[in-house]
Structures are given as C-alpha cells and as structure tokens.
Amino acid sequence: MMPTPVIVLKEGTDTSQGVPQLVSNINACQVIAEAVRTTLGPRGMDKLIVDNRGKATISNDGATILKLLDVVHPAAKTLVEIARSQDAEVGDGTTSVTLLAAEFLKQLKSYVEEGLHAQTIIRAFRTATQLAVKKIKDIAVTIKKDDREEQRKLLEKCAATALNSKLIAGQKEFFSNMVVDAVMMLDELLPLKMIGMKKVQGGALEDSQLVAGVAFKKTFSYAGFEMQPKRYENPKIALLNIELELKAEKDNAEVRVNNIQDYQAIVDAEWNILYDKLEKIYKSGAKVVLSKLPIGDVATQYFADRDLFCAGRVQEEDLKRTMMACGGSIQTSVGSLTDDVLGQCELFEEVQVGGERYNFFKGCPKAKTCTIILRGGAEQFMEETERSLHDAIMIVRRTIKNDSIVAGGGSIEMELSKYLRDYSRTIPGKQQLLIGAYAKALEVIPRQLCDNAGFDATNILNKLRAKHAQGGMWYGVDVNNEDIADNFKACVWEPAIVRIHALTAASEAACLILSVDETIKNPRSTTDGPPGPAGRGRGRPHGHPH
C-alpha cells in the first residue's frame, strides 16, 4: 500500500489524448493547489503530514508540503517541480507560485474545452508574462545600497515579510534581525552552506542564538572524555579524517602465528601504529582534535592524559565549517601536521545549551561562517522554524544581490492585473480574452489572502480594484483590519525577484501542461495501483464535479 495521498490515473487509462486529457490534467493541478491553498499569507494555516515511517512534519512551506504529498500524476508533478525550483532559486514564494499556476490553468479551462489551440494560448501567456515582468521592473523601488542603515532596514523588512506567514511570525523582529546578522557575517558570495543550523529542544524561541563561529553538539564519546579539559584559549585545532582506534594491521590479511611469542609482536605492532599517530598529533601542538572518523577509547584516554580535547565522528559539514572558520585543512594522514594545516580560534569551549552539550569555536580568524542554534518546544516546531528561517535567509541573500522591492499582500498582483487588463483592451480577438484571463488569475493571491483571513474576498477585491484604478499602486490586503491598505507604507516588502520568478515559473508551467496533450503510462502493477474500475465507480453519476 502506498498510503500517502497520491494522484494516479485510473488503471487501464494508459493513453489518453486531446482535450479530455488536457482537462483532466488541469483538474489534477487544482487538487494540488487545494492542498496548499489555506497556507498562504499571514493568516495561513499549517499542515501536519505524517509519512510512511510515522514521522510528522508540520509546515507552512508550499514546497515542503508538496514534496511530502508524494504526487505521482505527471501533470500535477509539474507544479511540485516549480515549487521546488522556486524554493531553490529564491527560497520564498513557493505557495504563491503553485497557486498562480493552478489559477492560470483554471481560467484557461473553458478555452481549452472550446478547443482553442494550445499554441494560441501559450503565445498570449508568454506576451502577458513579458509585459508583467517589465512592469514589475518599472515600478519596483530600489533602495540605495551604499546607505548601510537603509540597507539593513530593508533587509529586515523583507525577512519579516517572509516570516509573516510562519509559525514564528510572533517573533519576526527577533528572527529577522538574527537572519540579517547571520547573512552579514558571510563573505561576498553569501554561501548558504556557511550558515549552520542546530536545534536544541526546549526553551523559548527567543532563547535561540546566533554564534559567530562554529558550534556543534558533543559527539559520542568514550570513557576518559570527561577527564579532558573543556576550555582552551587560542588553541590549535587538528582537523582529521583519520580513525584513531586500535585496528588490525592490515584489513583483510590473516596472519599465521607459528609461535606464541609472536603474539606479542603483532599486538605491539598494532599498538605502535596507533600510538605513533597519537604522538604525532600530540607533538603538533594541537589542543583540540576533531575527526570525522571515530576516536576510540584508547585515543580518548591518551588525549585526556595529555590534556587535549578530542571529538570523533564529527559530521562532515561541521568539520568543513570549522575548517572554513578556523583555517587549516582536513588531514587524512598525520604525516605533516604543520602549523599551516592546523586551525585556530580565540576560544574553544564546551557549553551547556538546554539539555545538551555543545562545542563552541569562537573568535575564528577566518569567520565567514556562523551558526544559529534554535530552541523550541517540539521537534516539529524547530524543524518548521528552520524551514522558515531558510526562507528568510534566502530572501535576505537575494535582496543583498538585487535590492529592488515591491509591496506584498496582493498589491503587486492587483497592479499587474489592472495593467494587463488595460493592455488587453487595446488588442483584438482571442488574445484579448486570454490576456484578460491572465489578469484575472493574478487576483488569486489577494483573494486567497482574504479567504484565509476569513474576510469577504469579493468586497475587498472590489475596493482594491477601485483603488488601483485611481492609481493607488501599492494598495493590498490589510490582514489586521479587514480592509485595504498601502502595503508599501505598511512595510510589507518583498524582493521584486521573488515575484518575477514566481510569475515566470507559474506561466511556464501552465504552458507546459497545456502543450502536453498526451500521456502514455504503463499500467501500474496491481499492488500499488488503485483498484480496478468495478470497485471504483460506485454507481455515482458520472459527470463533472464543478
């Protein structure tokens, strides 16, 4: 049994062609949109999804939800793909992109049913997208980059908007501040990998902290570890990928022992291999020894005996980040542990964070890295916090690179909608209708924001249309007062790039789905396919549900 909700074609429907196929694909996409619809915006809800292994995930993030749904329908999968690509490219707006794509398709359904040729539709949509993107670029506001203060404010605002719809919205000032600090610590390339994210259960959200440097959880340790010192100032750090355990001299060889006294020789040889390594490490002057591979009890005690600190089985990414922060390089042999391959930092310390012990490396000379230690009441809570911060971090990175912004809360969509509708009136025929449909579809964002907030969407949208017609370019939904408001003034700011990417991706996806009018599927095996038609129809009247 594949228990997660899946979408599959009815068995036996191995091929399907033409208009019916298109319509069925469009319907399938509506189902996908339905799954994330209520998560949009500051009044959006979350979904709890349990996977086959019983692991529960609570999320508001469109891409995450869709990924967990395990969609198999080919057309519907396209939507999952664009959400994922939106996530990878800009990090935020994954719900919006899905809703937009589905809404485009919905508006086009009647034209498809009429038998309008897909290429005509696609042409109109491409034009509309180009116009919309150009319009966004025209009206987007750019904030001077050289003004540090201003830039920082801008970054925080954008991060806060991204966090608005998340579980941690209540702490958005705290977290947007933290996220901006974190990104500012990186080098010009702003590599995402260099922000470590750790989770320690318990504590209030505000107990989360940003560490300028590297931090990771105490690794598994052997007897003797507690005797090692837990704090050094200016230590040298050895970064290893070496197993420090008593081991066979050769891995697969078997030796024949003729004489019992030989025993001792073999044993001595084994010990010497290890002790030789340990001594070289000790002699190198390193005080903190980290290895990706295990450090056994003998080695642990050897180091304890000489007042060194060691940690084995350090996660690769942690080791790498330590290297980036503290300098040095990861060694696979102890042959040349010279000073230039050893890292260094001002302070190494083992610290209690909540119920866990953490290794902190602070004051790193090459600190182009930082670590966020998240606190929170439940595993799922922290996982969602991590995802939300990821969105915010991506947005901040984007905004640093590209600092033009638009106002959110549906205002940009309303403005584009108005612009395209006006434009469509200037052109004749089918194209007019199609671009009109595009314009109408854009309204899905403010409409959904209203629906999710429990507002009367029709009323709000009417107000918005009127306001935009009068030139109130940045008017959008005011989620606090069941009204409309100038969202630029209200500081609901988003990087223009998020909207540009979302529009382009959504319209491309719609075009793609429309251009495929034939799916050929192998009949699925009976075990994971749905039951046959006999059990399915259930005597319901066949017909279109809506």
Partner: protein, 557 residues
C-alpha cells in the same frame, strides 16, 4: 468541502483517484479539524490534571510486558501512555521538553496548554480567526513573562546555609510518593548538587551525579555517597581445593571488606594474554604446543600482576573480565580486583580518585593510580548482593545517590522524584531567581494579562483574557485536587492578591491556614515557570495553526 477527499471525474466520466484510502477515512479540514485536534489535546491534559500539586494523585501504568510503574511525574505518565493521535503526541513532546531542560513542572505545562486550548475553542466558536487567537496568546505570554520577572525574588544560594534550598526541594518532592521521607530526600538532593556544583561558573554537571538503586531495605536507608558506588564486588571465585588454605587467608583480609588508603589501577585492558586485532590463526598441533601455550599465558599473567604491583597499586579496577585462573593468581599476589566495571563507572572512578584510565599494562605508572581513602564492600541483608563503595576520594566532586526501597517501583519513582528535585536545585544554582508556587505566580500573571487586555484595542484582547483565564486553571486544579471548591477558593485568593498586592498568595493546599506561599516555603524557579508559559504557548500556537492532518493510518481521531 474542497475537491480533496472526493473522487474527481474528467470529461468522459473517468474517475481519477485523489486520495487512496478515502473510502476508509472521513477527513476533516478547516475549523472542524481544528476542533477535533483541540479535543485530542485536551484529553491528554485532562488525564494529568488530577496529578497536579501536593495532593495530586499518582497514576499506575502497566505496560505491555506487565511491568508496573507508579508515578506522579507528568513526563513519565505521558511517555508511557500509548498515544497515537498526532496532536496528542505534540502534548507528550511538550512535557518532554520541559523535562529535558527544567526537569520539574512537566505536569503543569500540559495542564496549562490544555487550558489554553479549551479557551481557544470558545474563541473559535465566537468566530475569531485561530491565528488571531494565537497572536493574542503570544502577546499575553510576553506580558506574563514580564510579570514573572517583576515579581521574582532572588534567592540566596549559600553552601553554608542549605535550609532554604532544602525547603525548595521539599516543594518539588511534596507531590511525590516518596514524601514520607521528604526532608531526607531533599537534603540528599541539595547536598549532591552543592558537592558537584561549580559555583563560579554556576554550572552543574549532571554526569557527576549517579543514581544507583537496590531493592531491599527502606526508603529511609537511602544515602548520599561522596564517591562512587559500583554494583560489583571483589571477585571471589571457586578456588581449586589445594589452594583452599591460601584462599581463606586472603578472604580474611577481604572479609574485613574495607581497604584503606587504596591506590587503584584503573584498567581498560583485560587480564589476559594480548590478542591482536589482525585476523590470526594459531595451530596447536602437539601436546608441547599446548603446554607452551599454557605456560605462556601463565607467564603473561604473572608479568601483568607484577607490573601492577610494582606501581604500588593495591586494588585493580578492570573494565573487562578475567578467568578464574587469573583470579587465583591475583589472590595469590594479594591483589584484590573488581572486574566487569562498565565504561561510565570507570570514568567516574577515574574522575573521583584522580586516576588515569590505562589501556595497557606497560603504560601503568604510579602517577596514574587513583587514590581513595576508603574502599569497602557493603552487603545487603541476607542476600548475597554486594556493592562496592569508593569513598574519601581525592576529588570528591563525583557523588552517588544510593536509593533503597521495598520494591523496584518505589525505587524507580524515587529516582524520578529525586531527579526533579536535583533539577530544581541545579536551576537555582544557575539562576537564583524564584517565584512562589501554589498557583500564586499564575494568579499574579493572570491579573497582569487582564490589565493589559483592557488596554488592547484590537481583537487580540479577547485572546489575552482567555489566556488569563487559562492561567487560573492551575490554582483551580490545585484547589480541586485538595478537595476545595476550585472557583470559590481561586476567586478569594485573587481578590486578596489584588487588595494586598502580594504576589505570593496562593492556594493553601496543605491546610496550613495561610495563603502566603512565602511563609509556606512553596517556591519554584523563575526559569522553570517562564519555560512552562513559553513552551505551552508555543505548542498551543502550533496546534491552532494546523488545519489539516494527512497521515497514512486509517482513523484520524
């Protein structure tokens, strides 16, 4: 209802399937789903409500193997309950996180979360959007936490005057089964923490406190040992007959069972001829070979024992075993030994005695020996059980709490209760601010939140008032569990708090005819209380934001 959960049909009436097992389950979404989630979470909270406070009842849990646990500890009760509703699981996690960090207050936090959800339900019925409720709770929690800061008292943690600390520990233990020897347990907990605490860094390493339990005796026999206890004995093997005399001679020494001024070798290598890790093969083909082997082994032992003796050691602590042959040789050399001591104990012994753990005989030196003033074996009643106590150590920071009791259930519950008490004292060492218990601080917070709600112009004010009402559930539950009329008692205390502006007034659970918790010494740590409020709010917010559960299982509620 949305398209989800229904069959969809394309133009030609061909169904395509949207949700696989839709026939089996009825899905709820939106507000209805939210309400069913709240129900599930409330059910969990309700079970715990009767366990709250000094008169709270214990729960008897029987697990699948028929193992019986009697406990009052919220986290333990929940972790043993077989919860499978996803939302209820979140409540279980909630108490676990309180347990991980604070140790105490695991019942209270769940009761509070349950109350918050109950209030939320009413607000939802009145048409307030769940996220606005969550926002209001968030604001209210912030106000409550500020209020806690305001009313907190600082507490003198003074190793020379442990009385106040003992009183605090007694509050924690008050609600537990072991309150028969309440005071003794409290003293043990306080002394244990003060022994291992690093007062300068305000740090307490729990790894240095070990709890060891042994069935038999009375709870009153529980003691704190400033040293290490190992559930092992000196090795007394079956001896070959010829050596019986010698054996008795040695036994006389050992039966005193006390070794003074011990110097111990702490070994992680076995008392046996070295074995290579390399795969090897030794062919024993002739009698000579076999004899040679035996001789070699014996020589090796002797050499090892010699090495140990040369360093001046008079006791061997060994992580591994040795066979009777070796044991015999040890006895012959008058070198008492303890075998099969586990890794963590080895480490504790090393820390306590200032010794080094030695992996090879050849590395053993005098400096690496651990020293202890006293090593003794204690035996219990008529049973043959013995344990080894290592005391008067060089570094007395490692301690063991040795718990006795009539049966395993009592010992386990005593461990849990002591754990709570240890946590509370540790928290005080870390942060010495306190608030008063018995619902006093909750009432005070509720008053503060209500006051703030009056000034709040937006819709969130309703949620804030609801939050205040939920806080008052704690004192009400305490009163109810003590057989008082909850509403009346709580209202009276609240009125007095207002009138006398004394945030230490709480529920007089023990009928001591004063409501002043300061006088009753019912004290709780500030961080513990704050944590309760913020964790409960977090989880409630999380639950209020979920409008849909998709799980592979069949039923959802």
């Amino acid at each position: 209802m949305s398209t989800l959960g229904t069959l969809a049909f394309d133009e030609y009436g061909r169904p395509f399937i949207i949700i696989k097992d839709q026939d089996k389950k009825s899905r709820l979404t939106g507000l209805e789903a939210l309400k069913s989630h709240i129900m599930a979470a409330k059910a969990v909270a309700t079970t715990l409500r009767t366990s709250l406070g000094p008169n709270g009842l214990d729960k008897i849990m029987v697990d699948k193997d028929g193992e019986v646990t009697v406990t009052n500890d919220g986290a333990t009760i929940l972790s043993m309950m077989d919860v499978d509703h996803q939302i209820a699981k979140l409540m279980v996690e909630l108490s676990k996180s309180q347990d991980d960090e604070i140790g105490d207050g695991t019942t209270g936090v769940v009761v509070l979360a349950g109350a918050l959800l109950e209030q939320a339900e009413q607000l939802l019925d009145r048409g307030i959007h769940p996220i606005r409720v969550a926002d209001g709770y968030d604001q209210a929690a912030r106000i409550a936490i500020e209020q806690l800061d305001k009313i907190s008292d600082s507490f003198l943690v003074d190793p020379n005057n442990i009385e106040p600390l003992v009183q605090t520990a007694m509050t924690t233990l008050g609600s537990k089964v072991i309150n028969r020897c309440h005071r003794q347990m409290a003293e043990i907990a306080v002394n244990a923490i003060l022994t291992v605490a690093d007062m300068e860094r305000k740090d307490v390493d729990f790894e240095l406190i070990k709890m060891e339990g042994k069935v038999g005796g009375k709870l009153e026999d529980t003691q704190l040992i400033k040293g290490v206890i190992v559930d092992k004995e000196f090795s007394h093997p079956q001896m070959p007959k010829a050596d019986a005399l010698l054996y008795f001679a040695v036994l006389i020494i050992l039966y005193l069972q006390v070794l003074k001024d011990t110097k111990m070798a702490i070994l992680t290598c076995p008392f046996e001829p070295p074995k290579p890790k390399t795969k090897h093969k030794l062919d024993v083909t002739s009698v000579e070979d076999y004899k040679a082997l035996q001789k070699y082994e014996k020589e090796k032992f002797q050499e090892m024992i010699q090495q140990v003796k040369e360093t001046g050691a008079n006791l061997v602590i060994c992580q591994w075993g040795f066979d009777d042959e070796a044991n015999h040789l040890l006895l012959q050399s008058e070198l008492p030994a303890v075998r099969w001591v586990g890794g963590p104990e080895i480490e504790l012994i090393a820390i306590a005695t200032g010794g080094r753990i030695v992996p090879r005989f050849c590395e053993l030196t005098t400096e690496k020996l651990g020293t202890a003033g006293l090593v003794k074996e204690i035996c219990f009643g008529t049973t043959k059980d013995r344990m080894l106590v290592i005391e008067e150590c060089k570094n007395s920071r490692a301690v063991t709490i040795f718990i006795r009791g009539g049966n395993k259930m009592i010992i386990e519950e005593a461990k849990r209760s002591l754990h709570d008490a240890l946590c509370v004292i540790r928290n005080l060492v870390r942060d010495n601010r306190i608030v008063y218990g018995g619902g006093a601080s909750e009432i005070s917070c509720a008053l503060a939140v209500n006051k703030a709600a009056d000034k709040c112009p937006s819709l969130e004010q309703y949620a804030m008032r609801a939050f205040a009402d939920a806080l008052e559930v704690i004192p009400m539950a305490l009163a109810e569990n003590s057989g008082m009329n909850p509403i009346q008692t709580m209202t009276e205390v609240r009125a007095r708090q207002l009138k006398e502006s004394n945030p230490a007034l709480g529920i007089d659970c023990l009928h001591l005819s004063t409501n002043d918790m300061k006088q009753q010494h019912v004290i709780e740590t500030l961080i513990g209380k704050k944590q309760q409020i913020s964790l409960a709010t977090q989880v409630v917010k999380m639950i209020l934001k979920i409008d849909d559960i998709r799980s592979p299982g069949e039923s959802e509620d």
